[in-house]
């Protein structure tokens, strides 16, 4: 608690002083001096914060600027004699590259955009319900000690690097998907498939969705909950119809962050996707590819246009993420918020 402080009117022009006694002129002067120096510290701190903010903000512009600049090069220059890449073909084609690498300029990402969105949607279909229900369980249903343990588990899961999820995917999920497809009498491509990709992405996004939803659920005003219970609603009815409804804005934010993680994931996905080079496949057990895996594959060994074009793919990915986020935020505003404590 704050110490109790009484204020007394001081000499004209001064500010209220602590304590009941009138202070001597010297001590007032000393205090004024202190204030002046602490104001200087304030100014200094303000400048440091501003500089930090400017640096972090300028990196965003720097990165976006460089990707923009380099991403446009293949469409504007003649790429060392290979000729300009046709933007329309690039955005709509269903083959990554027609012809030989380092010789052809017929790159295309149309099918990758569709596969990326398809995979993200499917992974959200798994991670969203699981994540939100886990959050509800931790926040409202689980006994305190269990909730504490689960919360730690989820937070740990959220901090696991994507390459670890990728190794788990390549070592365990591929095998599971392969065995599963063999069991149903379908020969998969060694488990490299949309299904494996979706499972890995779902595993990666569940902790994000859970921890953010849990915060949203916990900040729902308890009077709403009590009111619902007092009106005779059961615990379950209250949880689903009142609490989840009241927390929907925060839960939607969780979904947006989950989608962001799915769209941008490269490492883990590239280990289980199979590197599809043409055509969109909606067959869950067939190989697939995303914008990010295409950027990553061969990146370390390639040169020339085959390298530059990866910046263009990155540009397309940034635009896809931007459009997705804007539309999800628009939906979120329409869904609206009900009585969620700040």
């Amino acid at each position: 608690m704050h110490p109790k402080v009484t204020y007394q009117k001081g000499p004209k022009g001064s500010f209220p002083l602590e304590g009941g006694d009138r202070m001597s002129d010297q001590s007032i002067a000393a205090r004024m001096k202190n204030t002046a120096s602490s104001r200087r510290v304030d100014h200094l701190a303000k400048a440091v914060f501003l500089a930090a903010a400017l640096i972090s903000a300028s990196f965003i512009f720097l990165i976006a600027g460089i990707v923009l600049f380099r991403g446009f090069i293949p469409f504007l220059s003649d790429n060392g004699g290979l000729g300009r890449v046709d933007l329309f073909h690039f955005l709509t084609a269903d083959v990554w590259l027609i012809g030989q690498t380092f010789v052809s300029n017929l790159y295309g990402v149309g099918y990758l955009i569709l596969s990326t969105l398809f995979i993200t949607t499917l992974s959200l279909l798994i991670s969203f319900p699981v994540g939100v229900l886990t959050a509800l369980f931790i926040a409202k249903v689980a006994p305190k000690p269990l909730a504490k343990v689960l919360r730690t588990v989820i937070e740990t899961l959220a901090s696991i690097p994507s390459i670890v999820f990728g190794l788990f995917g390549a070592g365990v999920i591929l095998k599971l998907v392969y065995d599963f497809s063999m069991a149903i009498g379908y020969q998969s491509k060694g488990g490299n498939s949309i299904l494996a990709t979706v499972l890995v992405l779902a595993l990666m996004t569940i902790p994000t969705i859970t921890s953010i939803s849990e915060v949203a659920i916990r900040s729902v005003d308890t009077t709403l909950e009590h009111g619902s219970l007092a009106l005779g609603a059961s615990k379950t009815q209250t949880n689903f119809k009142v609490i989840l409804a009241a927390a929907k804005s925060g839960i939607f934010t969780a979904a947006i962050l989950g989608v962001g993680r799915s769209l941008g994931e490269a490492t883990a996905v590239s280990l289980v996707a199979g590197g599809r080079r043409s055509g969109v496949s909606f067959d869950l057990l067939d190989t697939t590819g995303t914008l990010t895996t295409m950027m990553l594959e061969g990146l370390k060994e390639t040169t020339g246009l085959d390298y530059d074009i990866r910046f263009s793919v990155g540009l397309v990915l940034m635009v896809v993420i931007l459009i997705t986020n804007l539309s999800l935020n628009a939906i979120k505003r329409r869904v609206g918020a009900v009585h969620v404590k700040a």
Binding site: P143, A170, R276
Partner: protein
């Protein structure tokens, strides 16, 4: 109620952990030759892919995915290795240096894929890594020539051999160390930070060549190593072709990932081999296949053979 819930959750966790353990043991079913061959490949930027496709007589597929069989799967070296531990009906290829006993390495034309068989030149699916120099006295300066000669001597040492082996190729055997011969190359004791040596030729060797120069530069007065790798054909052209060697793309050392042709003739002292690059076709351990030919592999990769039984019919 809460205690019951806690107990339930603990029980559930325990059961799912046990389930993980049991699902790892798989039932081994007999190999079914009517299954489709799952074809695994490296991506078009890979030097291993170029070496493999050229080796099996399918050079068109070195940098072009469209000539490959439909439904191929792209993975990196490790990815293909792990895939072959899972996919009983898959086939892939990896660098010989990464072969281990979790997969089945196939004999090529009846010869086992071992380092010994690469060295005695009986294992066929391989290519040599060669170097070529400019003619004596035809360098930008005497310093460059001295450094190049020191570099070639370095290539024959076990120091260079370790670097070559660490980069996936197989070095020729050597017992000489750089420390024991460096006194013969006084240039290595001078400060060469203002001397630039130009390396070029095969892009498949670029990684190995860069690793070699990175190790050699500090041993030889910190000269500047400039790498511009454009293809094996340029190894001769840019060091010895009178029309090109003195232009801006001229090189002091050229590398080729094949033997030099008769049209690329230079003096014996101006060329040599630094390593072998051997590639191995691999399958799942349960696959009864143990020996393939170049024609088999080409037929698999171009889609002529789509089922494992197609190989038996041959």
């Amino acid at each position: 109620m809460k205690k019951a819930l806690l107990a339930f959750v603990l029980l559930f966790t325990a059961v799912s952990l046990i389930a993980c353990g049991t699902s790892a043991t798989t039932t081994t079913e007999p190999f079914d030759g009517n299954m489709t061959i799952n074809v695994y490949t490296r991506d078009t930027t890979s030097g291993t892919r170029a070496g493999f496709m050229a080796g099996i007589g399918f050079a068109a597929a070195e940098t072009d995915d469209s000539v490959l069989v439909d439904g191929f799967i792209i993975k990196d070296n490790t990815g293909i290795m792990t895939a072959m531990t899972i996919d009983e009906y898959g086939i892939g290829y990896i660098s010989l240096s990464t072969v281990n006993n979790t997969i089945k390495a196939l004999y090529y034309d009846g010869v086992a894929p071992t380092e010994a068989n690469v060295m005695n030149d009986t294992y066929g699916l391989k290519r040599p890594f060669m170097w070529m120099l400019r003619a004596e006295g035809d360098y930008p300066s005497q310093d460059v020539e001295d450094i190049v000669n020191a570099f070639v001597a370095f290539l024959g040492t076990s120091d260079a051999g370790d670097i070559i082996n660490n980069n996936g190729a197989i070095a020729l055997p050597s017992t000489v160390t750089w420390d024991s011969i460096k006194s013969q190359y006084p240039i290595s004791l001078e400060d060469n930070s203002d001397v630039t040596v130009r390396f070029g030729g095969s892009d498949s060797i670029q990684k190995v060549a860069q690793a070699l120069t990175a190790a050699f530069v500090p041993k030889c007065g910190n000269f500047v190593a400039e790498h511009d790798h454009t293809g094996s054909g340029d190894a001769y052209k840019r060091t010895n072709d009178p029309a090109i060697k003195d232009t801006s793309v001229g090189k002091d050392v050229g590398f080729a990932s094949r033997f030099f042709k008769t049209t690329e003739s230079v003096l014996e002292a101006q060329r040599g081999q630094l390593a072998w690059d051997a590639i191995v076709a691999i399958v799942h351990l349960s696959n009864p296949l143990s020996d393939v030919t170049a024609a088999d592999l080409k037929a698999i990769y171009d889609g002529t053979f789509t089922k494992w039984s197609d190989l038996d019919a041959e």
